[in-house]
C-alpha cells in the first residue's frame, strides 16, 4: 500500500487565532475554518512526513481513536482540503517551496 504525503499550499493565507486555524484561498478568497483534526493535519503537512506517521504521532496521541479509523478520516480531510487547493497530496514526498505567509503569526 502506497503512503501519502501532504504539504501546505504556499499560495493560501493562514493564521491561527485562539487555537482556531483560519485559511483563505488566494484563488477565490474563500475562507475556511479548520477543526482540531484538520488543524493538526495542516500544521504537520511538511511534505516529507507520511500521512500515516502524522496520524500515529500527532492525531492518535491527541484523540482516542483507532489508528486505522484515524488514518481513513485524515485521508478524507486531506483530500477535501486538497480539493480546495489548501493542501497538496502526493504519493511521493513533496519538495518544499515557499513558506506560507503569516502562518505562524
Amino acid at each position: 500500500m502506497s503512503r501519502l504525503y501532504v504539504a501546505r499550499n504556499p499560495r493560501v493565507a493562514a493564521r491561527s487565532l485562539d487555537g482556531e486555524m483560519m485559511i483563505m484561498s488566494g484563488r477565490d478568497s474563500t475562507l475556511f475554518t479548520l477543526n482540531k483534526t484538520a488543524t493538526i493535519l495542516w500544521q504537520s503537512a511538511d511534505g516529507t512526513t507520511p500521512l500515516d506517521e502524522i496520524v500515529e504521532h500527532r492525531i492518535c496521541t491527541e484523540f482516542e481513536v483507532a489508528p486505522a479509523v484515524a488514518l481513513q478520516d485524515a485521508e478524507t480531510v486531506a483530500r477535501e482540503l486538497a480539493s480546495h487547493e489548501i493542501l497538496q497530496i502526493s504519493e511521493e514526498p513533496i519538495p518544499p517551496r515557499n513558506t506560507v505567509a503569516g502562518e505562524s503569526r
Binding site: 493565507a13 493564521r15 485562539d18 482556531e20 488566494g26 503569516g102
Partner: protein
C-alpha cells in the same frame, strides 16, 4: 490654410476621499458638473493628486446592470470591468482611464475599486458598515443588507457626525486605525461628512428586543470582518494582504455585537 484641428478644453476636478486626492479629467462640462454635485464635500482644491484618471465618455447604451465586476492585474496594469464601464490604472505612472457613459454610478464603482486596491497594500480597507464620529472617536457598525446600517445612521443623535451609512473607509495609521467619511451612500442617500477620527470600536449589528453590547470571540470577529470587507481583485498577494489586515484590525480594535431595538436609546451605549 484652414485650421484642421479643434482644441478641446480639458476640464478636471480632484475628488479627495480618505485623504487621497484623485484627479478626474473630462472634456464634457455637463459631466464635470454632475461629478461636482455627486461628490460635493469631497471635491478638493488640492493641486497634487495621487492619480489622474481620464474619463472617456461613450454614447448611451443599455449595459447589463447585473454584470459581474472583474478586476485583474497584468504587466503592472490593473483593469476594472463591468457591464457599464472599463477602466485601467497603472500605479507606476499614477495614471489611468475610464470608459463609460455620462453617469455618476460607473465612476463611483471605479473609485471604490481603486481605493480598495490602494488600501489593501497599506493595511486598510473599505467595509460594508455605517460609521460615525462621537466625542472625537469613530465607531463602525457592520452588517449585511437589512442588518441595520441605515437604521442606526438615521437614529444618530445631533452630536454624532455621520461618516457613511453604507461603506466605511478605514486606514491603518501607526498602531491604530482611522475612519474617514465617504460619499458612498446606502438607503439614506446622504453623503458622509469629509472628516476622520481614530476608530474606537467595531460593532456587528443585530436587531433584537433590547439594546445591549456583547463581546464576541476573536475568531468570530475576524470572520465577520472578512465577510464585510469590499474586495474585488482576483490577486493572491492582495487576498493575503487583506486577510492579514483583518487579523491586525481585530487584534487592535475592540469588536462586539450590538443588539438594538430601532429607537434612539441605542446611542446611549455608544461613545
Amino acid at each position: 490654410m484652414p485650421e484642421l484641428t479643434t482644441e478641446v478644453d480639458r476640464l478636471s476636478l480632484v475628488i479627495e476621499i480618505g485623504s487621497m486626492p484623485v484627479r478626474v479629467h473630462t472634456t464634457d462640462a455637463r459631466f464635470l458638473t454632475m461629478l461636482q454635485d455627486r461628490y460635493a464635500g469631497f471635491v478638493s482644491a488640492s493641486e497634487q493628486a495621487e492619480i489622474e484618471f481620464d474619463v472617456q465618455l461613450t454614447p448611451p447604451n443599455s449595459p447589463d446592470p447585473y454584470a459581474p465586476v472583474s478586476v485583474t492585474h497584468r504587466l503592472g496594469r490593473w483593469t476594472f470591468e463591468r457591464g457599464d464601464f472599463r477602466a485601467e490604472w497603472e500605479p507606476a505612472s499614477r495614471t489611468g482611464w475610464i470608459r463609460q457613459t455620462a453617469n455618476p454610478y460607473s465612476i463611483d464603482a471605479v473609485l471604490r475599486i481603486f481605493h480598495t486596491l490602494v488600501l489593501a497594500r497599506q493595511g486598510g480597507f473599505l467595509m460594508h458598515s455605517a460609521s460615525a464620529i462621537r466625542n472625537g472617536k469613530a465607531f463602525l457598525f457592520a452588517g449585511v443588507s437589512e442588518a441595520g446600517k441605515t437604521t442606526i445612521s438615521r437614529l444618530a443623535p445631533p452630536d454624532a457626525t455621520l461618516l457613511t451609512d453604507e461603506i466605511s473607509y478605514v486606514r491603518k495609521q501607526g498602531a491604530g486605525y482611522v475612519a474617514y467619511g465617504t460619499p458612498f451612500t446606502g438607503e439614506l442617500a446622504k453623503l458622509g461628512e469629509n472628516v476622520s477620527a481614530p476608530v474606537a470600536a467595531l460593532y456587528l449589528l443585530a436587531k433584537g428586543s433590547e439594546n445591549r453590547i456583547d463581546p464576541i470571540p476573536p475568531g468570530e470577529a475576524t470572520r465577520s470582518l472578512l465577510a464585510n470587507l469590499l474586495f474585488f481583485a482576483e490577486d493572491e498577494e492582495l487576498v493575503q494582504s487583506t486577510f492579514h489586515s483583518a487579523f491586525e484590525f481585530v487584534s487592535r480594535v475592540p469588536v462586539s455585537r450590538l443588539t438594538f431595538v430601532p429607537d434612539a436609546r441605542v446611542w446611549e451605549l455608544i461613545g
